[in-house]
Symmetry: C2
Subunit: 427 residues, 2 copies
């Protein structure tokens, strides 16, 4: 390694440690900042976004122009693009987060001991949260605001292609913080686009309490592999819908069509349909009718292909693939045990649904499948913090620790124990 590279890396480590130290100092203050002050900052930031719409659009135009010059895909350009509607959406989003209940300080549980000690468990912020994201500039506002509402300091590291847009949005958040007299380091945007800054964040155990990656599989995979800091994330959303032998056909059709085709690119979209052999001849073709009409490609095992010629043979790889597209794999099983075995072998512990009128089968499925979200007679596309009534979410976690399922404002908190005595000593 050359001396120059070493110096650059060191200075990025130092830069990031400086952000981290400032974030920690801010977090200590935010931990006991009253709700109103945090809301004032959010509402002032929303106003700043509205009044600085022209600046944000100009910054975004610079990003769009370099992205077009670099020949980025139209999907990426669409994610990067801001317009007045999308900017108003950011402002409204901040106001919605201001309207959420403040989780901090809530007493989660309290009890007293025979020796009269009063013990309570109280919600506190997590501390410092790092967000690593890609091309969507709105994440700057959403993620910064959610962290702030839960009393956390945020270190935001957006994508290079959204550099100017993110800075313009960050300026509005900074205005909001200043208006409420909150520390500027409560929300910080990493000022360098050097990729090493991401590596530095992932090594900042003891300074950053948790990292949330927002983006595609390769970003999440890098973060999960490299992080020495806890991560809230899901790598894949290989969601299954299991059409049980006692499924009502009309429900099965509506649920399968919605779970696959409402939006194919979200993590809660169904990727594999599992169907009981007993209803293969009655249920499969009507379901396939709807899906094919909606433009879906189907890949199945030998029995599924034999039952409906529109299904093409699936490879072993298909069962473990998150298509995020209008493609569905179809697996035939002998019954619920085989269905659950398939999910255990190929699933990603995100969301699985059973369609059945048999309460006992539903109870077994909901009880025995180990994924973060289990559903009965409904669409996996409901796997979403907003749909769960949790308000805005920063992502969905398939990890088993701390935050599981939708990660909203409450999931961005920790807790502490408060013990009140009157001079008790331990015998």
């Amino acid at each position: 390694m050359s001396t120059v590279a070493t110096e650059t890396e060191q200075s990025i480590e130092e830069l990031m440690q400086g952000l981290g130290d400032a974030a920690q100092a801010a977090a200590r203050e935010l931990a006991y900042t009253p709700t109103e002050k945090k809301n004032d900052a959010l509402l002032a930031a929303a106003q700043a976004i509205r009044s600085q719409t022209a600046d944000i659009l100009a910054a975004n135009a610079r990003d769009m122009s370099s992205a077009e010059q670099r020949g980025l895909s139209s999907a990426l350009l669409d994610r990067l693009k801001l317009n007045e509607d999308r900017i108003e959406g950011m402002a409204t989003g901040l106001e919605q987060i201001a309207a959420l209940d403040d989780p901090v300080g809530a007493v989660m549980d309290e009890w007293s001991r025979p020796n009269k000690l009063q013990i309570s468990r109280v919600r506190v912020p997590l501390g410092v949260i790092g967000i690593i994201y890609e091309s969507r500039p709105n994440v700057t506002a959403d993620a910064g605001a959610l962290c702030l509402k839960a009393g956390n300091a945020a270190i935001l590291r957006g994508g290079t292609e959204a550099y100017h847009s993110n800075h313009a949005i960050m300026a509005c958040l900074a205005d909001g913080l200043a208006a409420a007299d909150l520390p500027a380091a409560a929300i910080q945007l990493v000022p360098t686009q050097d990729r090493e800054a991401v590596g530095a964040m992932l090594r900042m155990a003891g300074t950053i309490d948790v990292v949330v990656p927002r983006g595609g599989r390769s970003l999440v995979e890098r973060v999960q592999n490299e992080a020495r800091v806890p991560v809230f994330a899901h790598l894949d959303g290989i969601c299954h819908t299991y059409i049980h032998a006692a499924a009502d056909l009309e429900r099965a059709r509506a649920i399968a069509l919605n779970a696959k085709m409402r939006r194919t690119g979200i993590c809660g979209a169904m990727e594999t349909l599992i169907i009981d052999r007993d209803v293969l001849s009655t249920h499969l073709t009507p379901i396939v009718d709807d899906l094919v009409e909606a433009g879906c490609e189907l890949r199945g095992d030998a029995e599924a292909c034999a039952a409906d010629s529109r299904i093409k043979p699936a490879s072993e790889e298909d069962w473990g693939t998150e298509y995020l597209d209008a493609i569905l794999s179809v697996k035939t099983v002998a019954g619920i045990d085989e269905a659950m075995d398939h999910i255990a072998a190929y699933g990603s512990a995100h969301t699985e649904a059973i369609v059945t009128e048999d309460a006992e089968a539903a109870a077994r499925f909901l009880n025995e499948v180990g994924s973060a979200i289990l559903m009965h007679n409904t669409s996996t596309q409901f796997a979403d913090g907003g749909e769960f009534g949790m308000g805005a979410e920063i992502g969905i976690s398939t990890g088993k620790l701390h935050a599981r399922g939708p990660v909203g404002v409450e999931q961005l908190t920790s807790f502490k124990y408060v013990v009140r005595g009157e001079g008790q000593v331990r015998p």
Copy 2:
């Protein structure tokens, strides 16, 4: 690296992965094993421990004899030593864990949505828990039982010096599992003493869900540094007791003496006394009287030394030292802000107490200090799962994620969302 070394390492990786795969299969079954069956296994294991007392004592005698030959310290020999009382204590411990409420399946929260979806959050086991411990053979029974009660599979890696004792105790746990017809892999003892087995456990992300180290600072530090798997642990317990200007003197004396001297070797023992300058002349000497009489050495800042000649000068290192011994550092402050700054700078986020009759000062301290456990007018030695009424604990965590404070049977669980519908699809 020689070919031989590579082969050895590979075979240990393979051995450990084999244990991990078996544990995962067992965990899938344990996740929905009824409470009674788990309790039957625990009660049968308790009986097996009683009936195999002679075998356990013989195995322990072999361990003690090699430990003595190797010249291990008397403290370590004491931790390793089993006798009939300690063996009966293990059996009773298993029965107490059987008597705890089963956390699995408990509905933590439930609500319904405007679209009539019924959502609930249900406790589930974490999965596979790795325990890495040192010389105390009773951890084999305690940790295995706590994991089993919470529906988890356990992989136990005890200290080399307790090899035969651990295997004799494991045989009793295996008898208990067999009696209740539970999978043998529900509790597994790592069969090799190769240190590489620990490294392999720490890398088994995706197989082991969480690792709990039980032992001294060097073990915990190694685990925290090397683990690619989440860890529940505390590195240090640098606990503070702050004698506020409005402290009642008699309470302050009793609490300080108890917090330091009841047992000096536990993580909840006070290591630093912080005292307000305003009460230095009235409160310090009586507190020091008690401590010196009980055999405590004192090290303080210049003001504390000037106030009481029995206090010797502290070095900078003292403020960050967990003595685990009859030594106390004494810090003088101008008031609550300086006290909280000192705790933020030198504390380990474990347990801190304030002694004061001023409700406002107490409220500020409990609210603003960020440690896992905050106390008012009581002894830090109460920082313990049993004293909190949580039953047996596997340790105390100072991490902010998932399990914080005492880690008991409930903290060894995760949760999942269950969504019940009647055919709803997402618009």
